[in-house]
Symmetry: C2
Subunit: 461 residues, 2 copies
């Protein structure tokens, strides 16, 4: 295993040259930010946070986050106005304003991605006003604890999580944040020790780094129904692993089990998904014999952390309604860049015209049940009594064709995400089966569809 980890480090650890370059860029941007603050006459501090600030960045992914810290006495509005003024001043026309929980600016500088993020400078991290105010505390905590050797172990973990597809706490991914990776290494001391322990994790795992919760049952009560709980050392009321979905938790545990069993570079550097050609798509669709629908519309102008939860909510609404009407959904997924896609794959797209309604067992009155169905125009047969003695009716199924039902769902838009609903109401199209070939030119979509149809945990590719 050690040979493999050495090889991984050799590939992912920044060289001295990489480090000199990135650090020069970072200090230049910090300096500019300071100058902008002075020029605008504000009272604020600057702080480099994130992986570059801690020496835990992957060579191919330097991530420079500059925080602009204002006094707590400012109103939210003043903070945003002044913070964005500074950020705009620094970024100039190259900057791009974004809005997640709060506004911030992203820019390219010497080819690197840089985030300029205004926040409050809060002394006690348990009293922060919004999530971004916590980042400077995380920065100080990790910086103080992390030795260069531990930083290497963090790199291994980040690459591992990335390779198996669970790296990143953003809502699109619902995986392991960089900070979570750092905490796990601080707790277990090394990547290999973590892997060994995590291979035995079960959902509901609690990792309480500072032993803040002496009574074992306490964190479970606070963090109920979370697959993984890593108590945040700077704010014990917070779960640093709150973003991790049960699915990604389980993938991580399986990866650790499999890696212990057969260590391999594949976990860190999986094979890429083979892109399907039109002919390949035909072949695989024919082999599956399913009905694959993609509902496609222009992505609403919101950040991925807003869009993805809405897409998933919409996906759930579509799948739930299809299932209610008797259409078994084999699998579904969502994807977005400039277009958004909700994919649903059905085992069967035409159903019979008959639906069985099962009434009460022999010992319960069936009078209302019978009256209601007898007077319905949809009654095909019944009342009957089945082998279990229950009264049953056969009624006309409302939707027998999945495509027609899908169109109804899209016109009703019940329980859709707000921005998604607006976008869909403008225009949407449903592509199906062979019709999907038209979309293969869209390279991002092509990768999404190829991965979907040949899905396999990355280290098994």
């Amino acid at each position: 295993m050690d040979g493999i980890l050495d090889e991984v480090l050799r590939r992912i650890k920044p060289t001295q040259e990489d480090i000199r370059f990135v650090e020069r860029v970072a200090s230049e941007i910090i300096q500019r930010t300071g100058e902008a603050i002075s020029r605008l006459g504000f009272s604020a501090k600057t702080m480099l946070v994130g992986s570059v600030a801690r020496g835990t960045w992957l060579r191919h992914d330097p991530d420079i986050d500059v925080f602009i810290l204002f006094e707590e006495t400012l109103t939210r509005e003043e903070l945003e106005q002044r913070g964005m003024a500074v950020a705009r001043e620094v970024a100039g026309p190259a900057g791009e304003e974004k809005f997640a929980e709060h506004p911030y600016v992203t820019m390219k500088f010497h080819g690197l991605d840089i985030d300029l993020v205004p926040c409050y400078d809060v002394a006690d991290p348990r009293r922060i006003k919004s999530a971004v105010d916590r980042s400077p505390h995380h920065q100080r905590y990790v910086k103080a604890k992390l030795t260069p050797q531990l930083a290497d172990e963090v790199l291994l973990l980040k690459q591992f999580a990335s390779g198996i597809g669970v790296y990143g706490a953003e809502l699109k991914r619902q995986g392991f944040s960089g900070y979570l990776c750092e905490l796990l290494i601080l707790h277990y001391g090394s990547f290999s020790k973590l892997v060994e322990e995590a291979s035995k994790w079960v959902p509901g795992e609690v990792i309480d780094i500072l032993s803040y919760y002496s009574d074992k049952s306490e964190p479970k009560l606070i963090f109920e129904n979370q697959p993984l709980v890593v108590v945040d050392p700077v704010d014990p009321g917070r779960n640093a692993a709150a973003a991790v979905s049960l699915q990604n938790f389980s993938i991580f545990v399986r990866a650790c089990q499999d890696f212990l069993d057969r260590p391999s570079l594949r976990f860190f550097f999986p094979k890429r998904v083979k892109l399907l050609t039109p002919a390949g798509l035909d072949r695989i669709l024919k082999r599956r014999g399913t009905r694959l629908f993609c509902i496609i519309f222009r992505s609403p102008q919101v950040v991925p952390d807003v869009l993805y939860p809405q897409l998933r909510k919409t996906e759930r609404a579509v799948v739930t309604r299809l299932a209610q009407e008797g259409f078994e959904v084999l699998r579904s997924d969502v994807w977005a860049d400039s277009i958004s896609v909700i994919l649903v794959e059905l085992a069967v797209s035409k159903l019979s015209g008959v639906k069985t309604r099962v009434g009460p067992p022999p010992n319960i009155s069936a009078k209302d049940f019978i009256q209601e169905h007898l007077s319905s125009r949809n009654c095909l047969a019944g009342p009957m009594v089945d082998a279990a003695g229950r009264v049953i009716f056969e009624v006309k199924r409302e939707w027998t064709d999945a495509l027609a039902l899908l169109k109804d769902i899209m016109s009703q838009r019940i329980s859709f995400g707000k921005h998604v609903s607006e976008a869909v109401s403008q225009r949407y199209r449903i592509y199906e089966g062979e019709g999907l070939k038209k979309l293969l030119n869209e390279s991002g979509f092509r990768e999404f569809l190829s991965e979907y149809l040949t899905r396999r945990l990355p280290w098994y590719r």
Copy 2:
């Protein structure tokens, strides 16, 4: 309600003329049987049993059962030889030999159906050698208790059970025997009292006429899992209602509830099923949009009490296998006269090529599950992890076409009834959808199919 019951009695109660005729025929056949016994030099008694003997016969259904009672000292072989010799002597060439549990002879005499049944004359009904030996005891018990007024109430109950489709203990019907009807009237005292009480029955109902089981829990232990228990007064170890299926029990209870609610002649004389024309069949099949298959073969040469359980067993085997392979069976049924029919109606007859195999949750090793599926040629996608954290695979479904699967089931004949399996192995055909029109000339089948497709509890027709 009384007016209705009077009208029913008026229609079903034999007139004085009917009674004189039937009694003359009965005594003539009894006399002939006695003569035959003397002529053959046997030592045996004759006894008229059944509804005619008790005055509980429906005008249109006089049922004359003559029992020939031999001494217990005979071997089974001697009993059958001598009994059948007597029966043949009585019936002459008009007789037809049948075999249920034991051989007996049926004949027509002055236009009436007569059964000649040899049995042992057993003093203690708890020591009988076979079920037929119990009939003379039932005869004596009922004859001693039943007043002419109670006999009228029995007629009402028999007609009611017949009208709602649950009259007859034969295995084709699994309903209420004539004897059971008599016991219920003896217990409750009148038809209307029975209806009132039965409307409150729940499965597991125990009626212990002679209060043989003083400890309430005892009969439930002996007669476990039987929807209705009526302790036989001549043999308390026997449930006189053992034949009643949960389905028919439930139909009876529902009928009683509905009759109390709205008494009507419909319960006694339901509308007949409308026979479907070929065009009507087309219409209804189109409306249902299901796939209706009838597996048809020549009926094996066995009595209905042997054939029907085998047909149902075969039906279960077919339905179970279809369901295992993913084909949802909406309803199924069996029917027979010279041909036998197993009907299965499917919601969908073509399935997708993909079947999802769900593996263990996150806390259980998935190693074997993954290895087994990865090495299979049928693996389409996976291993994946679903939202619940379980490992899943998608594998190629073995059967995607219901007709092909049905043919496979018919060639394997696993868990089929013995005689049915033999008959099917000779030849069978599968008719489907519009193809069923060819069979509408078979009037019995036509009625069966018409009833199946428009099924409704008879009093709702």
